[in-house]
Symmetry: C2
Subunit: 397 residues, 2 copies
């Protein structure tokens, strides 16, 4: 019976709409295949295609000039067709990472039909794969205790809206009676409450760092930072509309003003240590901007602040009253000696110079902060690294 059912379902699947590609030999086509030397082979069965390329962040990226300075674009490589219509390309051995890619078939960019592992980044779908090793293993699911990841809704009185929020609770949270510190982790422009858990591999990073004893068990709160949205695309009453980077009210104070609603929700719904020394806030790009302004506006809330590739702006050009007197408010914030003010950015980030200017201001005022700079630019690869570095510094005393 088991065989009958399996065979019937396989047949049904094959007849219906199976996008998993099957090799001419009858076995499924494997793509990507991580080889023993950590090279990666991509395959596509497309006998009618004239050209197939793979575009991904594992290929040497190019820096090109733009009105905003140099920006990185992923490299591409050509697949070669064999006599059976299977296109194939094998990369050089790759360093351990969580990579993204797409295939391009006669100019049409698609997701690899043989790889079900895909992530949405704003309005794009990318395939993903992990090359094992030190960094890749940090982003993988390992044999360690796992926390819980919950999608739920909170009421924002300030925004007069029910809003979706993603919350990681560490392993053991449910069965213990302890109170936990909290990290508020904010996404960038075009992101939402799905960005850090999906592209950022937050639950995997937290599980692994906690298991290794490198991070304290903590709650990680991933809100939606777009004041206009109830929830991520497809998860709200807006329905399945096309996601856009271009939302109103993302950097004009509304979200930052309403942020205490989130803290209040978390602290009345979870067992938390609700004092400054047990609260951290960090974010990438726009989320770094939000972290900067929320933490300076409420200088008694957060003892740990992380700006990852932060969209730090010329502060005089901003429209909201929320951003008025920023220098004065920063002075108040730093007088209160936050335990960690951490700034991280890649050398090739188009926001690099804005961060240089901001650090100059902090230096001139002798404000205490920690700075980390690495290569590459405004990409998720860096934000996962920054999260992995930031978290171990939190709540250590």
């Amino acid at each position: 019976m088991k065989n009958f059912l399996t065979t019937a379902l396989l047949l049904l699947t094959a007849l219906c709409a199976n996008s998993q590609q099957v090799h001419w030999s009858g076995s499924p086509l494997l793509s990507p295949e991580i080889n023993p030397d950590n090279s990666v082979t991509f395959r596509l069965f497309a006998p009618n295609a004239s050209q197939v390329e793979v575009v991904g962040d594992f290929l040497s990226q190019q820096l090109i000039d733009s009105p905003f300075g140099k920006v990185e674009v992923p490299g591409s490589a050509s697949l070669v067709k064999d006599e059976n219509g299977v296109w194939q390309y094998t990369s050089a051995p790759l360093s351990s990472e969580f990579y993204i890619y797409n295939l391009v078939v006669d100019g049409l960019r698609i997701a690899d039909p043989s790889n079900v592992y895909q992530l949405r980044d704003v309005s794009s779908i990318h395939n993903v794969f992990i090359v094992p090793g030190e960094r890749g293993d940090l982003y993988a699911v390992n044999s360690v205790p796992h926390g819980s990841l919950t999608r739920r809704w909170y009421n924002s009185e300030t925004l007069d809206m029910n809003r979706r929020i993603t919350i990681y609770t560490p392993p053991g949270y449910e069965s213990s009676k302890e109170d936990y510190p909290v990290l508020y982790l904010l996404h960038g422009m075009g992101g939402d409450e799905e960005a850090w858990p999906m592209l950022g591999r937050t639950a995997q990073i937290m599980d692994n760092l906690i298991a290794e004893g490198k991070a304290k068990p903590m709650i990680v709160v991933m809100p939606n930072g777009n004041a206009i949205q109830e929830a991520a695309p497809g998860e709200s009453t807006q329905g399945m509309t096309a996601p856009t980077m271009n939302l109103p009210k993302t950097m004009e104070g509304s979200y930052e003003k309403a942020f205490p609603d989130i803290v209040k929700f978390v602290e009345s719904n979870y067992r938390v240590k609700n004092d400054k020394s047990h609260r951290a806030i960090s974010g990438l790009s726009m989320g770094g901007f939000h972290s900067l302004h929320i933490s300076k506006e409420y200088p008694d809330l957060f003892d740990y602040i992380g700006l990852f590739s932060a969209a730090i702006m010329p502060l005089t050009e901003t429209p909201s009253s929320f951003y008025e007197d920023t220098d004065k408010k920063l002075e108040v914030q730093f007088q209160k000696n936050p335990k960690l003010y951490w700034i991280a950015i890649g050398k090739d980030d188009f926001l690099y110079n804005a961060n240089v200017d901001f650090r100059k201001k902090l230096d001139e005022n002798k404000y205490d902060y920690t700075y980390f700079e690495n290569g590459e630019g405004h990409i998720w690869r860096n934000w996962r690294i920054y999260l992995s570095m930031f978290v171990p510094m939190l709540f250590q005393d």
Copy 2:
């Protein structure tokens, strides 16, 4: 600054790897577009392609003969290319539903690059869209109170494994002090703990039925029914391996034997009413088989049993001792008068005759059950309908 950042990020996205297609006019290509008359337009920019088709369950399905009886295959339709290289097809007005589709470009089946809404069904990725109306609205996110959806892990002592589980708690669960009834909702072969929440729209259906007063607030537990797996593909230590329908130990008693571990976990971690009259179990296909055998093996556990397109087998052919004496155990189960024993199947299901035989056995023994039959076959469209029908019958007294 906001404009600077938006523009820079849009540029970065466009340069990097944006799979969202852009029309020659510069605006994003809309696909699918639900028109006011509920016809749907599909578009693809592929100037180099020779043929583009859409394959989906909204097109008239064909019944074809197979060794297992008639099976349904989705219909297809051709897109037509305009002078700008944009292919387009508009369907007839569609009835309200949650539909799936793929595009086929010169024989290559792909996901629509303009539609970020995609779901994995075993090893296939399908695009999805909702046509609004009575049924589609039941599967959509509406302005109603929302429950929480949590991915967490439990320890199965019997299987000696930590295992992932998806749990829906109804709106208000966290803030109330009430105890709730529990529905255990099981997936089919090739599925996992992501099947019901994603393909089955469980959270949306529950939120909407509860808001309309049609269902009691309840907890819905969606376990992983593959005894060999810790978790869904990509969510376990197996890493990002290709999903397969062909797993060992799915219908040989291991999972059913270990099921009390799940009940124990739920009842010691959630505020539940822990008696027979507040427990329900149901499942689709293999999950219907599991529901049949778990409920008959533990006749004091469940007062509500739902078999959705159940993989009911000729019981003498099964290998496990768990399936021995099934007739005798069914007799015991029905002597204890379960409040609802609900069987549902589509007329075109390849398991239709097996269900006829099973009902004949129940009839011969004068066991009390309720039967629902509709059109179509072994497809998710039916399983969402069955869930929507089953849930309102639960825990009503």
